[in-house]
Structure formats: C-alpha cells, structure tokens
C-alpha cells in the first residue's frame, strides 16, 4: 500500500443522481494515481472553513479516471454530508488518500457485488476495473425506495455494467433485497457493502453457499490513518480492529458477526 497523500482537489462536476444523492467528480491526480477499488478518501473543506462541520468524512472511491479524476457518491445524512454535497464546480476539497485496504479479486472466480444504498459507491470502481480487466462482474444494487436509486444510466456509464436493481417497495427494479433470487451457480466471489443488517444477511448467504465474501464496513472515523483508533470493529478473535487501516475491506471470516 502506498503512503497516503494530502492534497486539495478541484471539484469538476456535481450532478444529482437520486433523492439527496450526488455524484461529485474531483481532479486529484496525486491520489488517483495509486487508488485501488475498495479504498477510500477523507473529504473535508479544511481548517479555515469555520462554518463547516469540523471533521472530514470518509468516502469510498467510486471512480478513478486516467486523467486524474476521482468520483464520489455523496448522500446527505447529516451536517457533514450536507456541506460536502453542496460543493460546486471550481470549489476545492481537502483530500487525504488513498486510504485503507482494497478488495482483492481472485482471478479464478466471477465477481458478484452486493450493494445496499450508498454501499454502491465502491462497486462503481470495482465494476469499472473488473470490466476493463475483462472479468465477469455483476452489481446487485438495492434501495428501500425507487427515488433513492442512483441513476442507472450513470452506473452504466461509469462501470459498463447493467445493474441488477432491487427496491423494497418494488417501485424500481425487482421487489426485494439484494440477497434474494441470486444465481450463484458459478460459485462467485461475493463482495458486499451496505448497512449492518444487510452485511449480516450477506454473511449468512455466503456461509449457506460456502462462498468467499469480502465486506466493506463503515464506522465513525476520526483521522482515517490509524492514529485515533476511533473506527474499530470487532474481529473474530474478539479484538477491536481499525476499519481505516486494517479495513475497510475485510474477509468476512475476520469479523465477529454478533
């Protein structure tokens, strides 16, 4: 893993991609250069922006372009994401990255990404990379309601993959959850990112079918680089381990599923 870089990135594009959800592209070649799918960036507005929420926030890298652009999926949950979602082209964001462990994609298996809500973000990058390597990759993407579904046309444009959409209210795509009615006959590598109950269900699914699963977890984060030890998750051995440096991607067997 290369050492993280601190850099200001210029916002190039901000487009609304669903209710309260934005796709933001930032020019940041020094971070883009080494970024790998599953890694994240701390995004903030810097110390002099006294009106903004204080801490930066971690975001999975959603896209990396050859020209040094990075793409991020930003959904408004609270004050921090509201501030970041309000940036305009020409604004600068303070960025720290790339951070954390990426997904590891075994060559011998196809890849099935199980994405819940903003958990879609890392799989945009995974999908694009896997496609460009000629890998078979599926993106199964669920939201509670259709209005929250990230623009499927944008998913296709970023990844080249036709997403398999699921909504709980059935208003878009298939009614149901990302774990419902999956064709796992080719014994794929499962990757999952989303809310905790969804990750637990994905872990159960992987155990039931004896399939390998990597999960990208989310926990409140302070520093992003392993010093504050704020972002811990419980390991299978019963120890608190840092999601920023030891994760955010873990083999599901490394974690305690309580």
């Amino acid at each position: 893993m290369t050492a993280p870089v601190r850099a200001w990135g210029r916002v190039l594009e901000r487009r609304k991609a669903a209710a309260d959800t934005f796709w933001i592209e930032v020019d940041c070649p020094s971070i883009a250069e080494h970024a790998r799918p599953g890694q994240f960036v701390m995004l903030g507005t810097g110390l002099s922006d006294v009106a903004a929420p204080f801490l930066p926030r971690p975001f999975s890298i959603g896209a990396r372009e050859a020209d040094g652009r990075l793409g991020f999926l930003v959904r408004v949950f609270g004050a921090g994401t509201r501030r970041l979602s309000a940036v305009a082209p020409g604004d600068d964001l303070l960025m720290l990255g790339p951070l954390g462990q990426p997904f590891s994609l075994p060559a011998e298996r196809s890849i099935v990404c199980l994405a819940g809500g903003v958990g879609l973000a890392p799989f945009l990058f995974v999908g694009a990379e896997a496609r460009s390597d000629g890998r078979e990759v599926r993106i199964v993407y669920g939201e509670r309601t259709g209005d929250r579904v990230f623009d499927p046309e944008l998913i296709r444009r970023i990844t080249g993959v036709e997403p398999d959409l699921r909504t709980e209210d059935g208003s878009l795509g298939r009614r149901g959850l990302v774990i419902d009615d999956l064709d796992l006959d080719d014994r794929p590598q499962l990757l999952a990112c989303g809310p905790d109950p969804m990750l637990r269900a994905c872990n159960d699914l992987a155990l039931r079918h004896d399939l390998p699963l990597q999960v990208s977890v989310e926990e409140h984060m302070g520093c992003g680089v392993g010093t504050c030890q704020g972002c811990v998750v419980l390991s299978a051995e019963g120890e608190w381990i840092k999601s920023c440096t030891e994760g955010p991607v873990f083999d599901a067997r490394e974690l305690a599923w309580i």
Partner: protein, 307 residues
C-alpha cells in the same frame, strides 16, 4: 527570528507539538507531517498492560469539534518498547518525544516509568491523570492527595522531565497545578478533554458506545486558554497549552496566556498540515510584530487597567 524554546532540559525547535492520542506513535503520520520540522510529539498513552479499548461508536462530530471515548486502547509497555519506540528513536532527529503514561493505580504508572526510563529515543513523560484510580474510582487528577502522591512517587523514579497533563474537570485548576509543582513536576500540560455526551434522539440512546466521552476541538479553545492562564499564573514551571488549536493565532492565545509550548491535536484530523500551518502562523506574527524570540511572547498578555 527564533521559534525555538529551551525548557525541560531540552531545546524544542518550535513551540508546536502534536497532542497525545491524535498522532499515534508518530509512524502513522510519517508521510503526511514533516515530524522533524516541528517541536515534537506526545505519544498515544502507554499503560502497563495492553488495553482493548471501548466498543464503537468511539468518535463523533460535535459542534466545533469532536467527542471520543477510545478507552486508551494501546499495545502496553512491552510492545511499545519493542515495536513503537524503536521507530521514534530511529526516525526523529530534531523533534522531541514525550511518552504519555496512564495507569489504574500509582503502581501501574510507576511500572511504566521504571520500564521505560533506561530506554533511548525520548525526552520525558507526560502523565495522564484523567484516569480513574481502581482504589476508589476517582480520577487521579481530581483527588489532591492521590495526585500529590502519584507525582511524588514518579519523581523519585526518574531524572527525565515529568510533565503532568491536567484535567479541566476541577473547580480551580490552580490548586492542582501547584500540587504538581510542589510534588516535583517539571511542567504541566493544560488541558485534557472535557467530559461530554451526545444522544441520538431518533434511537434515544447515547451516540458513543461508552455513553460519555471527552470533547476536543475548537469548541474548547476558550476554556483551554483560560485554564492555561490560571495554571501559568500560579506556578513557575512551564505550561504546555492544549485545546482546539488550529491556527497560529489560536496558538498565540495560549502562548500569551502563559504557555511555553502548545500541542495541536484534533485539528490534525481535519488537515495533517495543521501543525505546520500553526508554526507558520506564529512565525508570521513574530515577523509582523518584530518579535525576536517566542520566549518573549510567553505570558506577554496585558490586561488593561490591571497592568
């Protein structure tokens, strides 16, 4: 223009240090902060035995800062000596290192200091007294007798600089500052975090896994400046100012209030270049005000009508 400060038997090349708990053991920030260009760093707390730490959430945003309840998760004395101290020894040349020490009993603290004292690679100790004493559950830093006995005991064990990090959670910090000085402390750090709590109203539960935590960041700057001023006024040992510093001007408030050094902590999380920016801000101020040495600014506050 001279940013250096002579105190604690050493020369700090700048008055800006990194605060304990925010910079790990230095290595984590090595690619992001030019550690050898700042005054120094205070390590994450070291306890006698490894500590597992608290359940999540451990951190959360608060207005103008953050709350944390990490639970002093650390690798313990022996692994600190074998895994962390060598990196500091080998990689820091001109920055000074203070090792932050915690314990549940006076014996714990004494064992850590005794265990480290003959090692190379650090200047001295910062004693974290914002910890409950297993004997009666009160914090060392809020119990006059326990604090005095603790510092006295540690003083007998080491010739190295002994800095006590004061808790703000007392009615008069001056009383505790004097107790530390009389017991043989070489310096004081003012202040540790303020106790606080956040509630998730939708879930009707505490946000922080440990229920309460310590509040840091710009929100506590005025309290830190005040308590630094109070402490510095009643002791003749140097005071290190801590709390919400993110700019040269913030640091200068502490210095004018009487701090000989400052520590930058939570601001690192917003921008790892914060300590360098703080240092540059102090230098810019000195140039603008034609101040030759940082020492000339320490305690240089004037109070109209009183001076």
């Amino acid at each position: 223009m001279d940013l250096s400060q002579r105190l604690l038997g050493a020369t700090f090349q700048s008055p800006v240090l990194l605060a304990s708990g925010t910079c790990g053991y230095g290595e984590e920030y090595a690619s992001l902060i030019p550690l050898d260009e700042i005054g120094g760093l205070v390590t994450k707390a070291v306890s006698l035995e490894p500590r597992p730490g608290n359940p999540p959430h451990r951190v959360a945003e608060t207005p103008g800062g953050m709350i944390n309840a990490i639970g002093l998760q650390n690798v313990g004395l022996e692994r600190f000596r074998s895994e962390k101290l060598p990196w500091l020894r080998e990689n820091l040349r001109s920055a000074s290192v203070l090792i932050n020490v915690v314990g549940h009993s006076a014996e714990d603290y004494e064992a850590v200091v005794s265990g480290l004292d003959s090692d190379d690679g650090f200047l001295g100790y910062e004693i974290n007294v914002s910890c409950p004493n297993v004997k009666d559950g009160t914090l060392f830093g809020t119990d006059e007798q326990a604090l005095s006995a603790l510092v006295n005991g540690l003083r007998a064990l080491t010739e190295r600089p002994l800095v006590v990090k004061l808790t703000p959670n007392v009615p008069d910090i001056g009383v505790y500052a004097r107790i530390c000085e009389e017991a043989g402390a070489d310096g004081l750090s003012a202040i540790n975090t303020f106790p606080g709590m956040l509630i998730d109203v939708e879930g009707r539960r505490p946000v922080i896994g440990n229920v309460s935590g310590g509040v840091s960041g710009p929100a506590i700057l005025p309290m830190g400046v005040y308590l630094t001023w109070r402490a510095a006024a009643v002791v003749s040992i140097p005071v290190i100012g801590i709390g919400g510093i993110r700019s040269g001007s913030d640091a200068l408030q502490y210095i004018l209030a009487g701090a000989s050094l400052v520590q930058v902590g939570t601001a690192l999380f917003v921008d790892p270049s914060a300590p360098v920016q703080v240092q540059a801000g102090i230098a810019e101020y000195m140039e603008r005000h034609d101040v030759a040495r940082v020492a000339d600014l320490v305690g240089a506050l004037t109070i109209p009508g009183r001076d």
